[in-house]
């Protein structure tokens, strides 16, 4: 149980941050504090996305030409599923989804001999795996290389990999195209969540600045940024208007 909790410590951080942020937003107070709460709330989401994107032992998704480097990055992995790692690092979800969508047809089962009965099995395995691993690293829960490893799934043939690439998102395509080559052994973190979160950060900054500037205008118009006082003044405006 303790292990189960500890293995997900990053998620706990996310949840604690999120709840703190929400609490600050909802507990009445200063408009600026509300915005801080909002920021905290958003930050928790950023961390959540980073968690999603992190691959165990993965490096920043920059194309590395030097093949020697691969030893540093691939050390933790077993050779049995090297190819799977190669592209899985970039778009780990893809394998899983591919198998999920194709499992019912029995194609994966036939070609790979892996005993995946249904997509839910995959997830169940993923969860048990995650529960077993307690190793101070960032760990995504449902990374499929682990699933594949656990089920001793042999390397997917090039066809399957390309197919995975086809279905994948932008970043996936890149590594899929080189998956068959040696470079594949370099393990990358998934770049897409990083890109997404960059966008989200920009949105967050914009929101904060708009919010702050409105707060400034409120202070100019009302002389306060305390919500209770503002509400009282608004109500006074309302009754004054009714009286006139």
């Amino acid at each position: 149980m303790l292990e189960f909790i500890l293995a997900r410590y990053n998620y706990w951080i996310v949840i604690v941050l999120m709840m703190t942020g929400l609490y600050i937003v909802f507990s009445r107070g200063n408009l600026v504090k509300t915005l801080i709460g909002l920021n905290l709330f958003q930050t928790s989401v950023f961390i959540f996305y980073i968690t999603v994107g992190k691959v165990l032992g993965g490096t920043a998704p920059i194309l590395i030409e030097d093949k020697k480097d691969k030893d540093h990055h691939g050390d933790a992995e077993k050779s049995a599923h090297g190819a799977g790692d190669g592209h899985g690092g970039a778009h780990h979800g893809d394998d899983h989804a591919t198998s999920a969508s194709e499992a019912p047809t029995g194609m994966i089962n036939e070609t790979t001999g892996a005993h995946i009965a249904s997509p839910t099995d995959v997830l169940a395995v993923a969860e048990t795996l995650a529960a077993q691993t307690v190793d101070g690293e960032y760990r995504p829960i449902t990374t499929s290389e682990e699933v594949a490893g656990h089920l001793e799934m042999p390397a997917l043939d090039a066809q399957a990999i390309l197919e995975a690439g086809d279905h994948g998102s932008g970043a996936a395509g890149h590594s899929a195209s080189v998956a068959g080559a040696d470079v594949a052994e370099i393990l990358y973190s998934n770049p897409l969540p990083h890109v997404l979160i960059l966008t989200a950060i920009v949105v967050g900054v914009a929101t904060t600045s708009v919010g702050l500037s409105i707060a400034v205008r409120i202070r100019e118009a009302y002389g306060t940024v305390e919500q209770d006082a503002l509400e009282a003044m608004d109500n006074a405006d309302d009754t004054a208007e009714l009286a006139s």
Partner: protein, 502 residues
């Protein structure tokens, strides 16, 4: 070829035009520029609608990058409908805004006002057009951020616009963040952001992560579309925003959120996802409760804009109700109401803006004897009001007719008749609040010594146009209803190989 880029042009055009707008020296120039852009966009949208009606859903890879790599824009029939609606509303409200902005906005800010307007417009169009889930978030925030600013610009006439904008900002951001959390969870499971791919990979998958993602996304969007009881931001924002902004927002922003909701409910998750029904049940109950609660609140408000704002919350209940039936007819009814409600609320809020322009108030007491002092505005308001109530020959009647018909045709847990009675009972509440305004306008005498500032033609024309649209949609409802049916069929589609009513 220009026409090949149809799905993206109506979004890009206003986005590029917005900074140019900022450079224009005065209200008139900026307003005319914005109007021109809106009209061109409307033209493009109608072309797009034509193409989609003829050939079906259109896909467009942004920047020439095809589906798995690039961001894909995917406009289905319902999307084209909503895009055309948004463009049409922009085309109507932008010229109106020229005169009303002079009155209601600090002169130095009017160029920025129209720039913001264009960005909202662009953002709303983007939400509809994109086929990429994360892109929905981006566009949602583009439109929301500029909306907060627009609402805050009402501060020249009433400082409460600022607090309203701030509340809207906080709640809107919460909604958007919920949405992003949901997306993250979905991404974790599927590893893609393309809506169609997500859908394919979610086939048969039903676990806690997907369910959590579903709940987060639906809740986030529900906040954006002001589903009761997540509507707290809406009444104040609508009431204190500048008139033209209210007219535009009331007729588009919640509608676009409804469409985004439809997209996620049906295109992304679909019926194969058993958990979906939980949301539909929620919509059913909250839709009904919202119809009543919001209408009841509306009856006791003394500010016409506030009354109409609460009425909007109630009307969103109708749309959610239609969606909750989970049948093509129900969704079609919701889509019909999306369009019709936009028409009636635009008409009403434009009339309210005209009264505000002439008499400087949107209190109910200012509406006394309006039939004598401002007969044209009063007429437009009455048509909009009758449409809201659902009198035959107006758009509102068609909405109610198809909705009730869909209710009779669907098999639901709650006895159908019960739902039908609640629909009609809530329209009685609409009679009550519209009746109060009508009473003041028609049967009371204008207060002595009040002179109405004459209305410029640029404000009268859009108002009458919308009143005419209400009548047109009420009399010749065929086209819209057929279109909505076809759109609903595509949404709940058969063509993608899933679906079927529950």
């Amino acid at each position: 070829m220009l026409m090949d880029d149809l799905p993206v042009l109506p979004i890009v055009l206003p986005l590029i035009a917005a900074p140019i707008c900022l450079l224009l020296p005065n209200t008139r120039a900026a307003g005319l520029w914005a109007t021109l852009v809106a009209w061109v966009s409307l033209y493009l949208c109608t072309q797009l609608l034509g193409v989609i009606v003829a050939t079906g859903t259109v896909e467009y890879g942004l920047g020439g990058w095809a589906s798995p790599l690039g961001i894909v824009y995917r406009v289905d029939l319902a999307g084209a409908m909503v895009m055309t609606l948004v463009a049409a509303m922009a085309s109507v409200t932008f010229p109106y805004a020229i005169e009303s902005a002079r009155d209601e906005i600090v002169p130095s800010q009017t160029s920025a006002f129209f720039a913001m307007f264009l960005i909202v417009f662009s953002g709303l169009m983007g939400v509809v057009a994109t086929g990429d889930a994360f892109n929905v978030f981006v566009f949602l925030e583009i439109s929301s951020l500029s909306t907060y600013t627009l609402v805050a610009l009402g501060a020249k006439r009433d400082r409460r616009a600022l607090t309203a904008a701030f509340t809207y900002l906080v709640l809107g951001t919460l909604g958007a963040t919920f949405f992003v959390i949901g997306l993250g969870l979905l991404y974790q499971v599927t590893g893609t952001l393309n809506m169609i791919d997500i859908h394919e990979r979610l086939q048969g998958v039903d676990n806690k992560v997907v369910r959590a993602g579903y709940a987060f996304i639906i809740t986030g969007l529900a906040l954006k579309l002001a589903m009761f009881p997540l509507h707290r931001w809406l009444p104040a924002a609508y009431t204190y925003a500048p008139s033209a902004v209210t007219a535009f927002l009331a007729s588009t922003s919640t509608k676009v959120a409804i469409y985004a909701m439809l997209r996620f409910l049906f295109t992304v998750f679909g019926f194969s996802f058993g958990f979906a029904e939980v949301a539909l049940d929620f919509f059913l109950v909250l839709g009904l409760v919202g119809m009543f609660a919001a209408s009841l609140i509306a009856i006791f408000r003394k500010d016409v804009k506030m009354i109409l704002a609460y009425s909007s919350v109630a009307q969103i209940g109708y749309m959610l109700l239609g969606i909750s039936f989970g049948t093509p007819d129900g969704v079609a009814a919701a889509l019909v109401h999306v369009v019709n409600h936009a028409a009636m609320k635009a008409c009403l809020f434009l009339a309210v803006g005209a009264v505000f322009f002439s008499l400087g108030s949107h209190r109910l007491s200012a509406y006394k004897g309006l039939a004598k002092t401002m007969p044209i505005t009063c007429g437009a308001f009455l048509i909009g009001g009758l449409s809201l109530v659902g009198v035959p020959l107006t758009a509102g009647f068609v909405s109610k007719w198809v909705l009730i018909q869909a209710a009779f045709d669907s098999v639901l847990a709650v006895p159908t008749l019960m739902i039908v009675f609640m629909i009609v009972a809530s329209s009685l509440l609409a009679v009550a609040y519209v009746g109060r305004i009508a009473w003041a306008m028609l049967l009371e005498d204008p207060p002595a010594g009040v002179t109405a500032k004459p209305l410029p033609a640029l404000m009268i024309a859009p108002m009458l146009l919308m009143a005419g649209v209400n009548l047109y949609l009420g009399i010749s409802a065929d086209g819209l209803v057929d279109l909505a049916r076809a759109a609903a069929d595509t949404l709940l589609d058969t063509g993608l190989g899933f679906g079927g009513a529950r």
